[in-house]
Symmetry: C2
Subunit: 262 residues, 2 copies
Amino acid sequence: MTLSLTPLHGIPLIRQGDDLADILVGSLQTTRLTLEDNDILVITSKIVSKAEGRLVDLATVTPSERARELARQAEKDPRLVELLLQESNEILRVRPGVIIVEHRLGFVCANAGIDHSNVAPLHLPQDSPNLRGEEGVLLLPRDPDQSSRKIREKIEAQTGKRIGVMIIDSHGRAWRIGTVGMCIGLSGIPAVMDERGWRDLFGYELKITIVGVADELAAAASLVMGQAAEGTPAVHVRGFPYPLREGSFKELLRPKEQDMFR
Amino acid sequence: MTLSLTPLHGIPLIRQGDDLADILVGSLQTTRLTLEDNDILVITSKIVSKAEGRLVDLATVTPSERARELARQAEKDPRLVELLLQESNEILRVRPGVIIVEHRLGFVCANAGIDHSNVAPLHLPQDSPNLRGEEGVLLLPRDPDQSSRKIREKIEAQTGKRIGVMIIDSHGRAWRIGTVGMCIGLSGIPAVMDERGWRDLFGYELKITIVGVADELAAAASLVMGQAAEGTPAVHVRGFPYPLREGSFKELLRPKEQDMFR
């Protein structure tokens, strides 16, 4: 079966309080797609954060002494680093320009996933040319699995179709250049497929056991979304090759004690 | 534009000397797909290795003292570890069941990508039931970029279409559970897109600069291939959202001196 990923058109700039389920249903119509059972909608963390009011005005942040010290090491704004500390369980590495953390959600990422780009400036009109909006930064959603579930349930109630919803973010990797889309929240789809005990073509057990299918789908959706002005924050997926079930992004988190690279 | 990924049917068990370009063209016909300009074919490292004769009979391998010591630590077959050492630039971590290396091709992976599964046993007829083929192991292709280029050029000569070819393997990640498909060789497509200097919706420069588009596509293709008996080793891709150009998987390798997690 073909896996097809289609960017959704007609999604407006998202503001706090917007109903993403309604907006997604509208953009499916604009894109002339009709939801079917087992379809999946993949959306960026950014629009979820905006809808949930996770935009923070840096002018309201008072950095702690620890944040100021870390900011010196990382050559970053101490107020940004203060937010990063609040959003993190643990600091893993510090270099000029980058702080690698274990996010409070449990995954390892750069700069606690705090985002400057495509954030509407707080103190300037939206339609000004050449805006400088550096005072507004966006934190990751508070509980992305729950956000996914709410959107899924509302769309399922509206359409009568059984679907999956996934929230993704762009992450760097330890050993490889380039960001890739990764799953940071989902509902209605498996995050991993455990293939222990499956037999290969010659009848003996596969050694590779667990496949990160949600991260594979997140990467695919990220490719379709693009990263810059031309990008779209939502993708419709048809043909996901595994049965849908409830899941959690936490299936993808390697327990710290099994992590050889901290 | 929709990105669509379709598994190719009718690919036989691959043997040393098989012409993968011819086999892929045949399987496109079987799958009723006609190549168009900018299409991409993604194939597993496994079929490339088999075609190139990278199958090694463990009975022919004499482990060194270093291999025997490492095998004790990792609880692995010393002959397998000998091959792993030959295929690696550097050993990064050793744990029971796993050795993390920098492969001679330059990327970090587990067990030097040496594969036991779906390898035809060397000393038993192919059609025996319940075969035990544990003496045969498969090394990664010698030069996957070059393998990709040869396949691409032959298919382009046969079809008159400008395409891309990518070879993928399933890799684990430092901090996350589950393998995902990653690019280990390509020809005719970019491995990364450098988006430095692109401006976002609000007119200032994006901070996230380089996207690992080949790894995103590799993950997408891996999702479609599946991992076990039902899997297929080749996927046809239409709708890759970036212009095709010549590339190399080496664009994805983080220089060792920039790697914070070794």
